[in-house]
Every structure is written in C-alpha cells, then in structure tokens.
Subunit: 192 residues, 4 copies
Amino acid sequence: MIKLSKSEIKRRALVDATITLVNNSGFHATPISKIAKMADVSPATIYLYFENKQDLVNKVFVETKQAFTTYAFESYSENMSVEQGFEVIWKRIADFKIKQVKNAMFLAQCDNTPMIDEDSRQEGVRYLQPLVDLWQRGKDEQIIKPISDYLLYAYSINPLSFLIVMQEQGTFKIKENHIEEAYQAAWDSIKL
Amino acid sequence: MIKLSKSEIKRRALVDATITLVNNSGFHATPISKIAKMADVSPATIYLYFENKQDLVNKVFVETKQAFTTYAFESYSENMSVEQGFEVIWKRIADFKIKQVKNAMFLAQCDNTPMIDEDSRQEGVRYLQPLVDLWQRGKDEQIIKPISDYLLYAYSINPLSFLIVMQEQGTFKIKENHIEEAYQAAWDSIKL
Amino acid sequence: MIKLSKSEIKRRALVDATITLVNNSGFHATPISKIAKMADVSPATIYLYFENKQDLVNKVFVETKQAFTTYAFESYSENMSVEQGFEVIWKRIADFKIKQVKNAMFLAQCDNTPMIDEDSRQEGVRYLQPLVDLWQRGKDEQIIKPISDYLLYAYSINPLSFLIVMQEQGTFKIKENHIEEAYQAAWDSIKL
Amino acid sequence: MIKLSKSEIKRRALVDATITLVNNSGFHATPISKIAKMADVSPATIYLYFENKQDLVNKVFVETKQAFTTYAFESYSENMSVEQGFEVIWKRIADFKIKQVKNAMFLAQCDNTPMIDEDSRQEGVRYLQPLVDLWQRGKDEQIIKPISDYLLYAYSINPLSFLIVMQEQGTFKIKENHIEEAYQAAWDSIKL
DNA sequence: CATGAATGAGAGTTCATTCAT
DNA sequence: CATGAATGAACTCTCATTCAT
C-alpha cells in the first residue's frame, strides 16, 4: 500500500469532487466553491494545485482517460489473435465502465460537450492507439471490416457509454447477460 | 406556404438562436442576453415566450426531438417488412443528422448532459415508440436479436450521434460511403 | 439650465464618486463596490456605463482633463501679447486648481502614477496645445527662454499641482497673496 | 567595505524589490508574493522584517528619503554663501535623481499618492531642515524672495521630480544641457 | 530564522430576471 | 406586446496574512 502525501490526498479529493459534481450538474453549473467544499478545502487552495477552473477540468479529464486506457489494455498482449485481443480489450472496457461508473460518466460527458480544451482532448485520443493498431491488424487479416476507425469505434465501443448514461439516468439497469449480448452486438457490427 | 404570425417568427428566432449558441458553448455558458441579441429581441421579451431559461431549453429540446422523430418516421409504414422498415427509418435518421446538423448536435448534447429536466427528457423518449414497435415485431419474427431495446438503440441508432459529434469537432468527415457502411454495421449488430 | 437625463445624472454621480474615492485612497485601493455605493447604484450598473474599472478611470481622466483645459484657455485669445497670454492662462489654471480642488487633485494623481492607460494619457496631453503654441511664439519673440516645453511646464505650471497636494495634505494653506507670489516665481523662471 | 550580515542582505533585497515593483505597478497593484519572489525569500519571511505591507512601504519610504537627503547635503557646508550653497544642494539633488532614478521615482510616487502613512510622510519632511535653514538665511540676506518655503520648494526643487517622471514615462529625455537650464529656471524663480 | 501551504475576505465582473415605460 | 435599464446574487480568482514545521 502506497502512502500518499498530504498534498496528494488533497489533490485526489479535488479530482474526485470535480468528477462527482460535474457528473451531477455539468461543468458550468459547478462552482469552484462547491468543489472546494466537497473536497474540504478553501476555494483558494484549488489554485495551488491548478491554474484555474479550466485547467482543473482539463487535468481531471486527461488523468481519468489515462486511468481508463491503462485499465483497458492491461490484460491485452499483441500476441493475441485479433478476435481474442478485441474481446479482452472490450471486456476490460466494459468492466471499467461498470465498476468505475463515476469515471466513465465523466469521460462520456467530456466527449460530448465543448467543456474540454482541444489540446487535452487530443491527448486523450492518443491513449487509444493500441486499439487502433489491433484494428489495423484485423483489417490486414481480413477479420475486421475495412472501414474507418471512427466507424469501428462508434459501433463497437461507444455504445457502452450510451448504456452507462442510460443506467445512470435510471431508465435502464445493466445486468450480467446484457454484457454478453452487448459484446456480441459489438463484434457483429465490425467483424467481416 | 404557411404564413407565420409576427409572434411565431420571434419565437422561432429564439429557438434557433438557442440551438446555435448552446451548440457552440453549452447551456450554462450561453447567456440569455446573447440569445436575445442573436434573435434580435430584448432579453425581457424572452420572458413573454418562456417562463425562464430552463423552460426555454426544455421546450426547445422537446420541439426539436419531435421534429426529429416526425422526420424519422415519415417514409415508414407499418406494412413494410421489418428489415425494410428498419432501413427506411435508419436512413431517414441518418438523413436528418446530416442535413440538419445543428438540430442533431443539439439533441446529442441534451442526451449526454444534465441540462434538460427529467420530465422533458421522458417526453422526448416517447416519440420513438414506432421504432420500439418495429423492433418488437422483428423479435417476434425472429429477425432481430431478442435483446433489450436499449441495447438495440445503443448499437443501431446512437452511433450516428457519435459520428456527427466527431464531424463537428472536425476530427472526422462523413462521406457518402460511410453512410452505407454505417448502416451495414448497424444492421449487423442487431439482426439475428 | 440644461436638463440632464436620468442616465446622465447617474453617469455624473459615478464620475464624481470615482474622483472622490481615488483621491482619498488611490485607484487600486478603491473597489468598484465603494464607487457604486457612493453613486447610489448597483455595482453591476457601472458596467452599463463603462467597460470595466480601467475604462472608467481612463474616461474620468480624459473628461476631467478636457474640462480643465477648456477652463484654462477660456479667457485666452491668440491676439494677446505673450506675457499677457501667459498670465491669463496661468491665472485660469490657478483658479481651476483652487476652485475645483477635487478635480485638480485627481489629475495630479493621474499624472504621477501608472494608473492611466498610455492612450488616454496621450489624449490628455494634446489638449494643452494652445499653451505650447503660445510658448513657441514667446521663444520666437525672445520673451521666453529657448528651452524645452517640458522644462517650461515643469517650472511654470506643475508647481501649482504640488502646492494643491500640500494643501490637501493639510501642511500648507494657499492664501490670496500666495497666488501672486507663485505667478511671479513662475514667470521669473521662464521669462528671458 | 562594510560586511553585511545575511539578515541585512535579505532586508536590502526586500527594500529593493519593493521599490522596483511599486515603481512599475503602484503600491496596491504589487502583491507581497511578488516582492518575496523578487527578493528570493518566502512571503512569510517578510513578516519577520516588517509588521505588514503598509509598514514595509512606510519604512522603505523613510529610509529612501533619508538616503536622498544625506546625499543632497553631503557637499554642502553652512559656511557657503547662500547662492553657492543653493547651487551645491540643487546639483546634488539633480545628481541623485538622475543617477538613482529608481529611488527618485519611488519618492515621487510616494509624494503624490495616498500610499504612505501621514507619520512617515512627516518624518520624511524633517530631513529637509538644512535647506529650510539656508532659505531663511537667504531671506535674511535679501538674496531670496521672502515667500513661503512651500513656494520655494514647489518652484526650485519639485520640478525635478516632474522631469524624472516624464523621462521614465518615455516622453522626455533629460540631457546634459537640460540640467543647467533647469538650474537657471530654479534659481530665477526664487532669487530676489 | 525561515518557510511552503493554506485560507478568509474581498476583489472585479457577469447574468438571469424584473419592472417602469 | 415589447423594451432598455437596472440589479442582487453569484461567479472566478487574488492576496495579505498566518502557522505548523
């Protein structure tokens, strides 16, 4: 167990509060004062850790995206077959979104609103490279449809975000069997 | 050609300005005063047409959603086969999203952020009933996978929103062939 | 008697409050909220009349400088002899500084601190042109020393500001005879 | 060469930083944190040397004023004739203002704004006593006009401050001949 | 002596909303 | 119906000062 410095504890509390509150109300409807209160620090303290509100949310986004992709690719190895590799990655992504709903919700909102700076968004995209590489291999081996990565992503990965958002809105409850069904739909949509 | 009353012209200008500005900056970063300026009325006038800012955006959402679904189901008839019906609806939806990007973007943002009241969101969902009915028929006829409508929507319809958002962010350009490829992916993901 | 619009009354109250408070505490030590309170308006109202705090003080400076120079040159005509012209202008300036102490103090502070934008400062300088022209005439006629206008100003005009500041600090009381003595000193310092 | 204690070095760095920064931006626009950074100490350290920000600037003023007057009267002796004595003092003052512009600018700003406490200001004035004594002698000997010391100061000494401020604002460049011309103007304005 | 971290108080500014006209 | 003018409340952010180390 790593011992966190006091500083690091405060920073994490801030990141956590930001995610929670932005999830509930959106970026612009979340005042710095609320974030401070939830993290149990003075508003002024936030400015010791981040340049300003925009910088705060940018950094929270990039760090969360990094944690997400690290998690996603952890069990994956380039030795795996395309199908096996895709399944391993997909299941880890699903796992992350179900177990770390808060983080997943936050990332979804970042992807769909103009609240993150272009630079940070770009950085977030780069972390997905291994998946893009796998797809290329799949196309070469004629296992995956020869279509744009954006289409592959839209159909095989992004739907998970939609399902999580639905679940958080309370209109849909994701159960065990849904995961398998979703995986099938995902794979069916992109396999040749 | 329907002649619009002066009142109706102003109201439409307000709705239009709201969509444009919320698309560009998000709901909370869009001041009433800007909406008023763009619609060429006084801020005070907005309160003659809408109760307050939240009411304005709720109404804009519901009306846009209604226009969207009306468009989506216009060429569809219940006589059609399941596959044909799905294709007709899907293509109209795609058509709407490409031709009325502004409206589509606005709906996407509403779906993915906490900016719309729950009641209005619910109302928006109801308009999709014909599609849900079609899917039920498809399941009965063992043409469509016997899985939750939310999964069917997540995989066959929602990806279009993602692609439009990507296009608006400037990271992806939707071309003619993408539509057909997207339709194939959509259908592959839900067909039995 | 000119009837002022409500708007103009408020604007003048703001200008007045600004001068009073900046005189007492300096620009940066004078919060917008205090200016608003003294002018009996909401802080937000200030932003209907001025772009921001800097714009407010710039405009107050330029307008006050303009009033000052208008007053200074009112009795002067280019027909006058150099000596007579200088005396007329000098006495009007002295008159302004004594009768409109508040405005004079404000101008003095603006001249000696970096609180006014360069552009506005430049504009203020331009209003003094008639005096500069008079000096040129005086140099041509060998009545006034052939030295830089800055020196002429420093010795014949600026000392008045110093005396006013001293008086306001309570260390010196300007009496009738001082004016005449000061005029003599001023004229002695620049006449050939 | 006097060896300065570590303490004294730090104190001087603080005084120096204060002068530089207040010159550039004014007292209230200069944060303690910036002064600390420029002096290469922690903000907290300032409070070991000075009671608070106001005390800091007061002390800097008094010490600078003292240094100024010490310099001014260094070559002067009471044996000198009035005219010679005045010239000696005047030239030293001019010398100080030109060679130690930073200090001179700081003193000028202190004289013209409400940033220094009344007590400290009074103390600053006292240091000028030798000049006042000289003038008294000059009046007795009927060499200098029998007018208030404030007038004498306003016309013979203060204009130098104005010229330095103009130079620092970049609108005027003081050259060698200007000094002699200025001295003439100064003497002409007060001599009988 | 010296400090980095922390903060309460208050700065300038914006904005949804109201109201006299 | 429509408005321009006005504002209270709330926003982001800064800063003089303190205090545990």
